[in-house]
């Protein structure tokens, strides 16, 4: 193409033949790229825009749930008098709606204890989701510990890890009292110092530098 253009130019403008040849060949005076290149790049850019117009919405559609936070959900699990300080009571409530029993989860609830350095008059709801890989832990009354059946994770009365593979204490649920009923709310995780942080998935460390290596997800609720 470039050569043809030169020939045509040369034939038509014979007197100006001695004018400096375009260098590199095929470039006309004042042009920085050949016309073919302009059209090639232009066509590819248009194709890219058209492709992006299809692909980006589709990808966004698939990844949107990462950025979506559902409605905060509170559920009453029993009157205040049901719960005591020195042991847990097992309650089952719905964490995810619309999938029947699969959306239910188990929590162990007790009154907060000043002996353990907790604020008086509140309620503690410990999730039964093991902080190792998410198996359901069980509160063993005789030992006063939470024990995971899958890989032998053990947690103390407060839910702090005391043995096995888990990487952090058990998650907790926000609690409040409404009309004399204890209500459980969104899940949150705690650090080894029992400081609340946004909910993490099992297997993810919390606190310190881990807050950056396992960043909080936009789909979770802020901690209390």
């Amino acid at each position: 193409m470039a050569d043809d253009a030169n020939k045509v130019n040369g034939a038509e403008e014979a007197p100006i033949q001695e004018r400096a040849k375009p260098d590199p060949p095929g470039y006309f005076e004042g042009e920085s790229m050949t016309r073919r290149r302009v059209f090639t790049i232009g066509a590819q850019a248009l194709g890219g825009v058209a492709g992006a117009a299809i692909v980006l919405p589709a990808v966004g559609f698939a990844v949107a749930p990462i950025f979506h936070r559902g409605k905060e959900r509170w559920e009453a699990v029993g009157p205040v008098s049901d719960f005591v300080e020195d042991t847990y009571r097992q309650v089952v409530f719905t964490e995810t709606e619309g999938i029947g029993d699969a959306g239910k989860t188990t929590a162990y609830v007790r009154k907060s204890s000043e002996e353990l350095g907790e604020d008086a008059g509140k309620f503690v709801a410990v999730s039964n989701r093991c902080a190792h890989l998410g198996c359901p832990v069980r509160f063993v009354e005789a030992a006063g510990n939470f024990i995971c059946p899958c890989h032998g994770g053990v947690y103390d009365f407060q839910g702090k890890r005391i043995g096995g593979p888990p990487v952090r204490p058990l998650d907790q649920f926000q609690t409040r009292v409404r009309n004399g009923q204890v209500e459980l709310g969104p899940r949150y995780s705690v650090t080894n110092q029992m400081e609340p942080v946004r909910a993490r998935d099992p297997g993810e460390f919390t606190g310190g530098i881990w807050e950056y290596l396992y960043p909080p997800r936009p789909s979770t609720f802020p901690p209390p």
Partner: protein
Amino acid sequence: MPKIPVPKIPDAVVPPPLRKPAKPGAGGTPKGQAPEGLKTSPPERQSHGDKLLDRGKEAPIDALAWVDQRLAASGFLTGMLYRKVPKGTNWFYTLGSATLFAFIVQAVTGVFLAMYYTPSATQAYHSIAHINNDVPLGQLVHGMHKWGSSVMVILIFLHMGRTFFFGAYKYPRELNWVIGVVLLILTMTMAFTGYLLPFDQRSFWASIVGININGTGPVVGPYLSDFLRAGPELGATTLSRFYAIHMLLVPGAIIALIGAHMYLVVKLGTTAPPWVKTERPKGAMPTAELEAGANGKGRVNGNRVNGAPVSGEGNGASA
């Protein structure tokens, strides 16, 4: 090993030489084969019925030739099906085909399972129970799909082991090894996403553990598990998401990559087992130089080329 007599292949099946040009006007026969009638004198006069019978006999061939004339597939198929394989090729070389067969079984049974399955959190379990208990042969088809998935994973690893221990991943077949690894990952994705679909206790908890293992990856892990679950908790959308990945996204990728995998196998040929030595004629150059010469750009720095000779006799490698 005692030599087993090889049965004679019937003449009709043996393809003609590859580059023999077709005779003009010989359209009704396979490429390169002139009909007998053209070589000899015209046949005796036949009755009308005989002619019809002959035409009828040739009709399937004519139809095939009509397609082949437009598709030009016979040359490709002949080259692929009758390609040379190296000396020493043995039963271990069938593991790849076995894996492909396992995949086909999965694809076929999966299509039929999809006719009865409902990817909904509240109905999935009951639809599987319906398949197992009520649908004729449902338990068999479901069982083939369920156990076939394990068979496929096992076969992949055996195939991979064969490739590794025979050195068949070396130049020029590295890309095929990489494609194979991607296929392995995709198969694992299939196994993982398929496990949730019955939506019983076992599959539910197994998926939770699997997703949480994904979540332990630093920085991207939490987002990856959110992506898999379609939210912070395993829910109704998780099931339909896994279903879509299991029967639309990954199978397409697997089929495409199997095509690329097999194209490279046919193009590059298979390797000889490592215990088969390259045969060298008397007074010929040392192996390395021989290969360098045959290959144009072979490696001459080593005295030996380990394992898989690139251009050994009859392995069909194209330099």
